[in-house]
Amino acid sequence: MASTVIGAGITIEGEVTSDEDVVVQGTLRGKLIAKDAVSVEQGGSVEADITGGPVSVAGTVTGNITSSDRVDLQNGAKVIGNVKAARITIADGAQFKGNVDMDV
């Protein structure tokens, strides 16, 4: 169902492009471009710029996040980078350092 999953224990160094959902439980370094939802789960680590639809983060992201829809920084998330999205939520317990750019 989930189209692309980067499992825990797996490291991808490079560019990932997908027209479907992307779930990151492992490590991704490089670039992540998805047309649909991107989910960085707890334990997941992304050292890359993320471009996608709805982005939800419960893991670690170092890089800019650009979303055509919304960005949710959940409890336990650690994000260092700028976030550009139409809507954004930062949950209690989420760590975030960076700029927020919302379409106003």
């Binding site: 692309t4 499992g7 797996i10 160094e13 990932v16 492992g26």
Partner: protein, 201 residues
């Protein structure tokens, strides 16, 4: 399930995939895959790089070398251009493979390409060094043999002399036996000489 990684049908990964866990590739991967676990390349999967894993199952397309620590299974519909190496390799009917296939122990020998490359690099040096000195000795050896034949040709005349003596029967018999051999070679020599003389005249 949680440990398994899936590269979806529409996903493209350009880069290196490493780590532990199972990996299912239904999309495209352009970059080396080195995983300790099972790698399954689905019928829609395309891999344009080397793959090494504990176990590899191929139903899709691969352009690159496949190395498995345990087993390598090429199923129907697989299209592989590259070398296969694993202790056990299964190629099912309908599986296409173009490349060097080797089953057996992993540490038995270096990769054929590497060995060939090594041979290419070492052979020229080996040829270059001995090549210069040896030829001279070989020529010397070749030059030496022509000398012995000459004495052999000269040998018959003494035999004829021995035969003319007629006194020692055994010598004469031995000489006669020896003499049977020599004449034939002499004839062609004469022919050659006569021909040459005729041409000159």
């Amino acid at each position: 399930m949680k440990d398994s990684t899936v590269i979806g049908r529409t996903s493209v990964v350009t880069g290196r995939i490493t780590g532990t866990g199972d990996l299912e590739i239904a999309g495209r991967v352009e970059g080396d895959v080195a995983v300790s676990g099972e790698v399954v390349i689905d019928s829609t999967g395309m891999v344009g790089a080397n793959v090494s894993a504990t176990r590899i199952v191929v139903r899709g397309a691969v352009r690159g070398d496949l190395t498995a620590e345990e087993a390598l299974v090429v199923e129907s519909g697989a299209r592989i251009v590259g070398d296969l190496k694993a202790p056990r390799i299964a190629i099912a009917q309908g599986g296409l493979v173009r490349g060097y296939v080797r089953t057996g122990g992993m540490a038995a020998a270096p990769r054929p390409r590497a060995a060939a490359a090594a041979a290419r690099t070492t052979v020229p040096e080996a040829k270059a060094r001995p090549a210069a000195p040896p030829p001279q000795p070989q020529r010397a050896v070749k030059a030496a043999p022509p000398a012995p034949p000459a004495p052999v040709q000269k040998a018959p005349p003494p035999a004829q002399k021995a035969e003319t003596n007629h006194k020692p029967a055994p010598r004469g018999a031995a000489a006669a036996g020896a003499r049977v051999g020599p004449p034939p070679p002499v004839v062609p020599v004469l022919k050659k000489g006569t021909k040459a003389v005729q041409k000159k005249r």
